[in-house]
């Protein structure tokens, strides 16, 4: 009898202990700030200008963070999300190719049209909705948190479209605009010298300004109710004041007044599919670049409206509406900074920086909302602007780039101030390097007799081609049984070809300066379903080099090397060892030699949860001892 009583008491104490530990985990606050492209060299050269990051380094920990091979955002963030290598999560590049059609496609998500329609005349009625699927495999680490009762809020993490169905999340990079593109701006000008044309990431149209009024057509989503899928459109009327630098904008029922060189707020736009019956809601921001003497108006890509989203931009679907109800509308396009407009000369530097400011303002609103509602569990919050501005400013406009870094640092200060007891981690997916010279891999393969062109305008002769490049780091063999017209056989032929290409690329020197252009050539060795999309080789360029603009889409130019004359002056799609990211923690840690795959394991460990299936990283926190936390 006495023994039974002791057993009961011991069990009760044990259970109380377990309950306390689990409740502790449930109540814990962990915040991760993900800063795309935050570079360790830039940070280390500017500690005095980044007081909050400097303070965390002084009282907690700071180190460089190894990125993935290749060091591209979709790949790196997918490894952070799942704890898996690219060979397991299946995202190797921004751009993959379908070996059955040899067509490129966005690696992160796919929209599958509704399979069945009722057709009548020019119209078709879809009998189900199009299906949008994430192509990333593996389980998001916050789903594992959810399975253990830990709540998670994930804001704008890349490669999460449509968002994983767990906790609350807003989709990030990979989310398209309503035209189904990764961002297509519209630019209207009455300058007769500016010919109407499609440009990279947008369309330039002529505007007739008659008696001070321009009637402009904004292209919307393809009309899915028509058999020809012709684009829907909406009318934007701009009435320009004859004297003052103001214009009145009317679109649908919305009216806004904009001053020259200023931006409108978000304007909701309805695109009619069947007039007066069915329409699709989007939203745009308008920039009155010039009103006198020329008329120059920029209209942003048509973003999904978070108040009435036509795309699956949040989980649960009501989440974006709840946020917008409190903060107002915000950018929902996956990459909101319009680098295309700057590359095409529609934006000058000042215009681009003013647009970045809008993005940062939206991010601040979202961060404040997230902090207001964060009680316990995990909050992940993402900043895109350091990455996008580094592409355009790196090494030439450091002062302007520092302002973007400072804006993020200010937000980190806000997190420290408002959540002083939270465990905080700040990390980036990769760093940055200049992009001075481009390498046309397909031209090099052509020169080596491994790629052949057809004697017509259609491109590559697949019946003779043995290897080809597509994407920012990928090189593929034209493999029999995998590619549509593959000719290279598995076994010795494949092995010899890989060895030949590797040796050739590692010996490739830039004739302009004699420097090696490529530092690493990594064989992927992928098995299973991801082998279909995996490049055979991943090319690690030296700092200063990158795949040519043509190589990215599987095209070919007229020489192996060329100067990069584009306003996009920096990149990170090079040798991974040359572009590490950063890792800050408010917890004091011994020196760590961590990589992205270690972070989800570490975050799970903070909540006392073991790594998920396939996660091979190690916790940076080692044995968790809450007393060691410092601030």
């Amino acid at each position: 009898m006495r023994e039974s009583v002791w057993v009961v008491v011991v069990l009760a104490v044990f259970q109380a202990g377990c309950g306390s530990s689990h409740e502790g985990a449930l109540r814990k606050q962990v915040i991760v700030i993900g800063v795309d492209g935050m570079d360790p060299d830039f940070v280390e050269n500017h500690w005095a200008d980044l007081p909050h990051l400097a303070a965390i380094r002084a009282r907690g920990s700071y180190s460089r963070l190894a990125t993935t091979t290749p060091p591209q955002s979709p790949t790196a963030w997918s490894s952070f999300i799942t704890g898996l290598d690219p060979s397991d999560h299946g995202i190797f590049d921004f751009v993959h190719r379908d070996p059955a059609t040899m067509q490129p496609f966005l690696s992160m998500a796919e929209t599958k049209p509704a399979p069945f329609h009722l057709t009548f005349g020019a119209w078709q009625l879809p009998l189900s909705r199009p299906r949008i699927v994430s192509l990333r495999k593996g389980k998001a680490f916050w789903r594992i948190l959810g399975e253990h009762g830990i709540s998670a809020t994930i804001v704008h993490i890349p490669a999460n479209y449509p968002p994983a169905d767990s906790g609350k999340s807003l989709a990030g990079m990979g989310t398209p605009d309503l035209q189904g593109t990764e961002g297509s701006f519209s630019y209207y000008t009455d300058d007769p010298g500016d010919k109407p044309r499609a440009v990279s990431g947008g369309v330039i149209s002529h505007a007739d300004v008659i008696d001070g009024r321009a009637t402009l057509r904004i292209e919307g989503p393809p009309d899915s109710l028509r058999r020809d899928l012709r684009p829907s459109s909406a009318e934007l009327i701009a009435d320009v004041d004859p004297v003052q630098p103001y214009a009145r904008l009317s679109v649908g029922g919305s009216v806004a007044i904009v001053r020259e060189a200023e931006w409108s707020d978000w304007l909701p736009v309805d695109f009619p599919l069947i007039p007066h019956l069915v329409s699709v809601r989007g939203m745009v921001r308008v920039f009155a670049k010039q009103l006198h003497p020329r008329f120059e108006l920029y209209v942003s890509p048509v973003n999904a409206d978070p108040e009435a989203p036509e795309l699956p931009i949040s989980a649960p679907p009501s989440f974006s509406r709840a946020i917008a109800g409190q903060t107002g509308r915000f950018y929902t396009l996956g990459i909101p900074e319009d680098t295309s407009a700057m590359r095409e000369g529609v934006f000058d530097l000042r215009d681009f920086l003013s647009q970045t400011q809008l993005v940062l303002n939206d991010e601040r609103k979202l961060l404040n909302y997230s902090l207001d509602h964060f009680r316990e569990g995990l909050l992940f919050f993402y900043f895109s602007s350091v990455d996008q501005n580094s592409h355009m400013l790196w090494g030439q406009h450091d002062e302007e780039l520092l302002k973007v870094y400072r804006a993020v640092d200010d937000s980190i200060g806000e997190v420290l101030r408002r959540k002083p007891s939270a465990e905080l981690m700040i990390m980036s997916d990769h760093g940055f390097a200049p992009f001075d010279r481009s390498v046309d891999l397909n031209y090099w393969l052509y020169h080596e007799g491994l790629l052949f062109m057809r004697n017509d305008p259609y491109g590559i002769d697949w019946r003779r081609t043995r290897a080809y490049a597509l994407g920012l780091n990928g090189l593929y063999l034209n493999l029999a049984g995998r590619e549509r017209q593959g000719i290279v056989h598995q076994g010795e032929e494949r092995r010899a070809l890989l060895d030949r290409i590797r040796a050739g690329l590692l010996g490739l020197r830039d004739p302009a300066n004699g420097r090696p252009a490529i530092e690493t050539v990594t064989e992927t060795r992928v098995t299973g379903p991801n082998a279909r999309v995996a490049p055979d080789l991943i090319i690690g360029y030296a700092r200063g080099y990158r795949a040519s603009w043509q190589t990215g889409i599987g095209g070919i130019g007229s020489g192996t090397f060329a100067d990069n004359t584009d306003p996009w002056i920096a990149d990170h799609c090079i040798n991974a060892a040359d572009v590490p990211g950063v890792l800050f923690t408010t917890r004091l840690l011994p020196p760590v030699n961590a990589g992205l795959r270690d972070l989800p394991v570490s975050l799970l460990a903070l909540f006392g949860i073991a790594p998920g299936p396939g996660m091979s990283g190690h916790s940076i926190y080692g044995q968790i001892d809450d007393k060691r936390q410092t601030r």
């Binding site: 921004f94 496609f105 297509s184 259609y458 889409i553």
Partner: protein, 61 residues
Amino acid sequence: MTSVKLDKSLCERAAKAARKAGYSSLEEFIAHAIEKQLAHLEEAESKEEILRRLKGLGYID
């Protein structure tokens, strides 16, 4: 069936090539050549649309 006018010398060259390649008739050869050309053109248009969707990423041109 629709009739199409072809230059005589082109027609003769096509007939010769069709016989050499083992086509059962000139019509079959021409239909196959048009099909092949159309497939290329349609693929090219499709690729253009695909690239339009991707270019907003900024990384490609």
